[in-house]
């Protein structure tokens, strides 16, 4: 993305809109400071937030710049099949998290996902997961930072360094000052700003190609062709744009990768843990599923519009890479004014992604590494201070890892590789531990460790040219699947050889052991039918299925 080809024609008013946003974000951070007195206030917002706030923050934490730019790129490259990442690759897992898993997370009062592993299994499992999570978060924060800096450099002409430091400094300021409340409140704000930026691009894009029907006709004439308009039709074989069979889509993407990401990623789960009661915590991911259903409208459609209207899109390098689909449309279609809003939206989406990584990191570092293994029994103020310093550390390391990310030609594949190594074995260990009370503490440790090692080895063998796959994406599907199977097999072998945990230690942590109070701290109004997590969840899944009908 070098050269001036993508440079947007921003004027003073556009910059005013951008500046207004920066000021508001920092103001939210400072205002949230008043609500922090304890470490629980700082790391979990004092468990006081309403469900609509945590729900929008939940979806926003995933709506990083990578997600928006990457999914529009996928829309242009793979066509309508990109919706699989939303309708089967996200919504069912979010609903499952809310209905089935959240009672154990929220009910046991754990403060993080690794902490659940400490209670369910043992300290080695806990430490292993806490460290691997912390490492993954700073790596991903670096990717987010680098992706944004690239966009700002191309669109606004800011030097790479300036863009990285300005972005990092703002995130640092509002999280250090405002804690998780600062992060979550800004994520809710960011959610709306991102939409305000993407909707005008989509609307004008559709007007340009003659509406939905015009778009469908035009896509048929592109290199993607008719196949770009169907999500399932050609998935009996791999002869479709994504190169994936339906079984790979359903089990690889829809089950292992998606459940691994949405149900065990603490950067996401943390948002639900900050909800004010059990009902709100369970509704958090389910409320998030509704916007998630509709986000492809503002990512995949612009991707297809760009494919149709931008001549030569899909180049290997330069300005016409798929990744530039949305920036190119912004340049071509938006006049000053909405242009400023759209640039602000892109910036907001980057900050949302990075803030989620950083706030997840500082909590796990403080509670799961510092308090559990390094300095125990200190005052709450001590941990609050450590949390603030951990935030500074995470952002500084993030700037460093941004330059690691700069070494990878395809950032999205780097991210997928990270997920298949870290998330898939974790999900397997979790799901068995949550539903099989006999699974022993040692089995938990070995499942997690060997699952991670198997996936990591496969990745390294593939990179080293020893094992061959059709694409990086196929490698990550296989890596995730193999890690999952390894964890299951190890659990089945090790458990009978080792002693189980006592029943009373498993209360509130394992299905069927009791100790989960779904109606605990219930508030007036939570009993209303429209606040039932199960009903809301089933409607979301039904909608996801219905949405497939017009693009089957």
């Amino acid at each position: 993305m070098d050269g001036d080809g993508l440079r947007l024609n921003m004027n003073g008013l556009d910059y005013l809109i951008l500046a207004l946003y920066f000021v508001t974000v920092l103001g939210v951070g400072f205002a949230a400071r008043r609500a922090i007195r304890t470490s629980v206030d700082f790391f979990l917002s004092g468990r006081s937030l309403p469900a609509w706030v945590t729900g929008l923050a939940f979806v926003s934490a995933n709506l990083g710049a990578l997600e928006i730019i990457g999914m529009a790129a996928n829309g242009a490259q793979y066509g309508v099949m990109t919706v699989h990442y939303y309708w089967i690759g996200a919504v069912p897992a979010m609903v499952f998290l809310g209905i089935v898993m959240m009672p154990f997370y929220y009910g046991s009062k754990v403060r993080s996902v690794p902490e659940y592993l400490r209670l369910r299994f043992n300290r080695p499992t806990h430490l292993l997961n806490a460290i691997s999570f912390a490492v993954a978060q700073v790596l991903i924060a670096g990717v987010n930072l680098y992706a944004l800096a690239l966009v700002m450099q191309a669109l606004l002409g800011w030097p790479l360094w300036t863009a990285i430091v300005v972005g990092a400094a703002i995130v640092l300021a509002y999280i250090t000052i405002g804690g998780l409340s600062g992060a979550i409140y800004n994520e809710v704000l960011q959610f709306f700003v991102i939409l305000a930026g993407l909707i005008p691009v989509t609307v004008i894009g559709l007007v340009k190609v003659g509406g939905w029907n015009g778009l469908m006709d035009a896509v048929g004439d592109t290199k993607l062709g008719e196949a770009g308009l169907h999500a399932w039709q050609d998935t009996g074989s791999t002869a479709n744009p994504l190169g994936a069979q339906w079984i790979g889509i359903v089990f690889g993407l829809g089950f292992v990768l998606s459940f691994g990401y949405w149900t065990t990623n603490f950067a996401e789960v943390q948002r639900a843990l900050s909800a004010k009661n059990m009902s709100a915590a369970r509704r958090t991911p389910i409320i998030a599923a509704y916007p998630k259903l509709f986000i492809p409208l503002v990512t995949v459609i612009p991707g297809l519009v760009a494919l149709v209207t931008v001549k030569g899109l899909g180049a290997e390098s330069g300005d016409l890479q798929y990744n530039n689909a949305i920036p190119l449309l912004m340049r071509d279609l938006l006049p000053n004014g909405v242009l400023g809003v759209a640039v602000t939206g892109l910036l907001a989406s980057f900050m949302a992604g990075m803030a989620a990584n950083v706030s997840g990191f500082n909590t796990v570092f403080t509670y799961d590494i510092w308090q559990a293994y390094i300095r125990r029994d200190r005052s709450d103020e001590h941990y609050l201070r450590v949390g603030r310093w951990a935030t500074v550390g995470a952002v500084v390391i993030g700037i460093g890892t941004a330059f690691i990310a700069a070494g990878f030609s395809n950032i999205m594949n780097y991210i997928q590789a990270l997920f298949s190594v870290f998330n898939a074995p974790l999900f397997a260990t979790f799901i068995i531990g949550m539903f099989w009370k006999r699974m022993s503490a040692l089995a938990g440790f070995w499942s997690l460790l060997l699952g991670t090692l198997v996936s990591l080895s496969l990745y390294l063998l593939y990179k080293g040219g020893v094992v061959d796959f059709n694409s990086d994406l196929e490698e990550s599907f296989w890596g995730a699947g193999l890690a999952f199977v390894t964890a299951v097999v190890v659990a089945a072998i090790v458990t009978p050889l080792t002693s189980p945990k006592r029943d009373e230690e498993l209360r509130g942590l394992v299905y069927g052991m009791g100790g989960v109070d779904l109606k605990g701290d219930v508030l007036t109004g939570d009993a209303a039918w429209y606040r039932s997590p199960v009903l809301l969840g089933l409607i979301a899944v039904a909608l996801a299925a219905l949405f497939y009908i017009p693009v089957f």
Binding site: L13, L16, I17, L20, T24, G27, A32, R34, A35, T38, V40, D41, S45, G46, R47, S48, L49, P50, G107, S108, K109, V110, R111, R118, L119, S181, Y185, V188, L189, F192, V193, A196, I199, P200, V203, I204, V207, K276, N277, D332, L333, P335, G337, V338, V341, Y367, Q371, D380, E504, E505, L506, R507, G508, L509, Y511, G512, G514, G515, V516, G520
Partner: protein, 102 residues
């Protein structure tokens, strides 16, 4: 899932639960005010730009007066947020919420 009894206990978690009684979370302001405020400001700015848009700008957006429409939409959205906050102010957390499972 039966409803009887308490989840397993852990010293670190109990400590955090005890600290929660000192929580200042109730002093958190209402985010609807900020969203409403920012969107009203954006709405006014973009609508004004939209009113004075030249032919060239309208042509760039395929003949759609996008600044005007987007500005008005953001203005209405911002006002709705403020209205919602005014109509249903956030209820302060009740004191017994601070001591769950006590």
């Amino acid at each position: 899932m039966s409803n009887d009894g308490q989840p397993a206990q852990d010293p670190l978690i109990d400590e955090a639960q005890a600290e929660q009684r000192r929580s200042a979370a109730a002093r958190l302001f209402d985010i609807r005010r900020v969203i409403g405020g920012l969107f009203v400001a954006y709405g006014v700015i973009v609508t004004l730009i939209g009113i004075f848009d030249s032919r060239a700008e309208i042509d760039k957006a395929e003949g759609v007066r996008i600044n005007l429409w987007a500005g008005l939409a953001m203005l209405v959205f911002g006002l709705l947020m403020l209205l919602w906050q005014w109509w249903r102010p956030a209820e302060a957390p009740s004191p017994n919420e601070q001591q769950p499972d006590a």
